[in-house]
């Protein structure tokens, strides 16, 4: 009996963990090693990290030497700006929408299905859609802004360094909002109806109910949405590659793209590994948050 039981876990786990060990665990460890490998010296040093962090070419730089009022600011800064804008937008809009969809809107199933399309389609297509919508000939936004008379915003956003990044960030809201709304909608189902009814009997207004009751009770879901969105924003690649490729003039580079450029263009594999490690290090605090939330 005992012998039988001991064999079983291994048979169930052998294939999965073999796959994971060879194709995930080993490479993760090896990447760290490679990132320290100094080609010139033939041994290990911090050379790659120094080169990568202090790179000055707009296509590769992580942090710009001097920060002007418009991008390029360096891939790392771009990612952080992305997080700073995208996360609050998606979280607030997502909460408000999920709330209104549940309590006020007819046919909310259709709307939720439509919003969700953003994460169903390939992010590469998402990137092309952004390029499309912000194009001055075929796009909608430049046309809209041409009525306001703002010259710059009436052109192809992705051709101008000052606004290209923001076109991508806005477009990524279109892609990602469905995720937030779906998660929040599911979480809203767990709020007991009596909590809302009681507030109505007290005479609480819609805003009161939303801000004082629903939002606090949704805190766990908010945490997960924020963390997942941050991770997505930090790791973003397909959207940028397909729409701008990092341009114009490196004003839309992101960490993952820089890593790819070192790998595929410069063929500098060790620097590429270093960027990959830096990217991972930045995501670590958020991974820790997720782990803590899951353990709760």
């Amino acid at each position: 009996m005992k012998l039988g039981k001991k064999v079983k876990p291994i048979t169930f786990l052998l294939l999965p963990f073999t796959l994971i060990s060879i194709f995930v665990l080993y490479p993760i460890v090896a990447t760290v090693f490679y990132s320290f490998y100094d080609k010139g010296l033939g041994s290990f040093s911090l050379r790659n990290y120094i080169d990568v962090v202090f790179a000055t070419s707009p296509l590769n730089m992580l942090i710009a030497r001097t920060l002007h009022s418009s991008p390029p600011w360096g891939a790392l800064i771009h990612n952080l700006v992305w997080v700073a804008l995208h996360v609050p937008l998606v979280t607030f809009l997502g909460l408000i929408l999920a709330f209104l969809l549940k309590y006020y809107v007819k046919g909310s199933i259709v709307i939720k299905a439509v919003l969700f399309l953003g994460i169903v389609i390939p992010p590469a297509v998402g990137g092309l859609v952004i390029r499309f919508m912000f194009d001055e000939i075929v796009g909608i936004f430049p046309r809209l802004f041409s009525y306001t008379g703002i010259e710059l915003l009436s052109k192809t956003w992705t051709s101008y360094p000052q606004i290209a990044l923001f076109a991508l960030i806005l477009g990524s809201v279109w892609i990602w909002l469905g995720f937030a709304v779906t998660v929040f909608s599911a979480a809203l189902e767990t709020v007991p109806k009596s909590h809302i009814d009681a507030a109505r009997v007290f005479g609480a207004s819609m805003w009161h109910i939303f801000s004082k009751i629903v939002v606090p009770e949704l805190k766990p879901a908010i945490t997960i949405v924020v963390v997942m969105t941050v991770l997505w924003d930090l790791k973003i690649f397909d959207v940028v590659y397909a729409s701008t490729g990092g341009g114009p003039g490196g004003s839309t580079t992101v960490l993952a793209l820089v890593m790819y450029n070192y790998f595929a263009r410069a063929l500098d594999y060790y620097k590429s590994a270093a960027v990959a490690v830096i990217l991972t290090l930045i995501t670590v605090p958020f991974i820790v948050l997720v782990l803590r939330w899951l353990k709760e």
Binding site: K5, P9, L13, I28, I111, P122, V183, A186, F237, T283
Partner: protein
Amino acid sequence: MIKTTTKKLIKTILINAVIWALALLWVLPFIGLALVSLMPYRGVIVRGWLRLPSLDSLSFKNFIEALANPLYDMATGYRNSVIVASASTILPLISAALAAYAFTYLDFRLKAMLFGLIIVIMMVPQQLVVVPLFFLYNYLRLYNTIPGIVLLHSAWGVAWSTFFLRNYFKFIPKSLVDAARVFGASDFQIFRKIVMPLSIPGIIAATVLQFTWVWNDLFYALTFLVSKENQVLTQKLVMLKGEYHIDWGLLTAGSIITMSMPLILYIAFNKYFMRGVAGWGVRR
């Protein structure tokens, strides 16, 4: 008195109007893609696409061009995507189901640690495995091969599917499994006859999500598939975009071709997609 209900009614109508307008705005890009792919490009430049085109001006030539023209070759891309995504779904899902069973119903040392490992892997960026695998694949002659990329996708797929399915298995009343143990059923039997049949919705959700994830991938395709015969659809798509001039008719048609498969899956399995994602936000 009636005034209050009217005020409430107006508020509700207003909210509905705004939200539905937003939904329309959200769909607009898809409408744009569809129209531009079918309309003659000249017309689009001159008069825009946000209008009702005359039916006889529409044609599928952009689609045919994208699929058949050897320069663009999306037909090959489509074929490759189907192969890669299918293989990268079947393999990991079966392994993940077994692993999830072990994590849910079996006791063994290191269980917590191994499961923690899986969670960590799920969160790590894709980029972190590329360089060593590149060297390894070159050495094993797996570079630029379909099996090579399938193995990679499968490994990631196994990780998150195991996590997903284990959470799903937890919903099956433990008493069902305990009863079967008392009857003397072996773990394989319990797995095949009880747990699997009861988790079909979860398995379907994991399957469509994994398939879509692999189909939508661009990064690994770019790094591990380089020759025309092996490239997948997303790669072919981004190659449609010219450096200086964009043929929007072609590009929009290519986009529609590329997202056709996920969209079809989404329409057919809508419920499973959304439940799969929603599960992230609700505490289990």
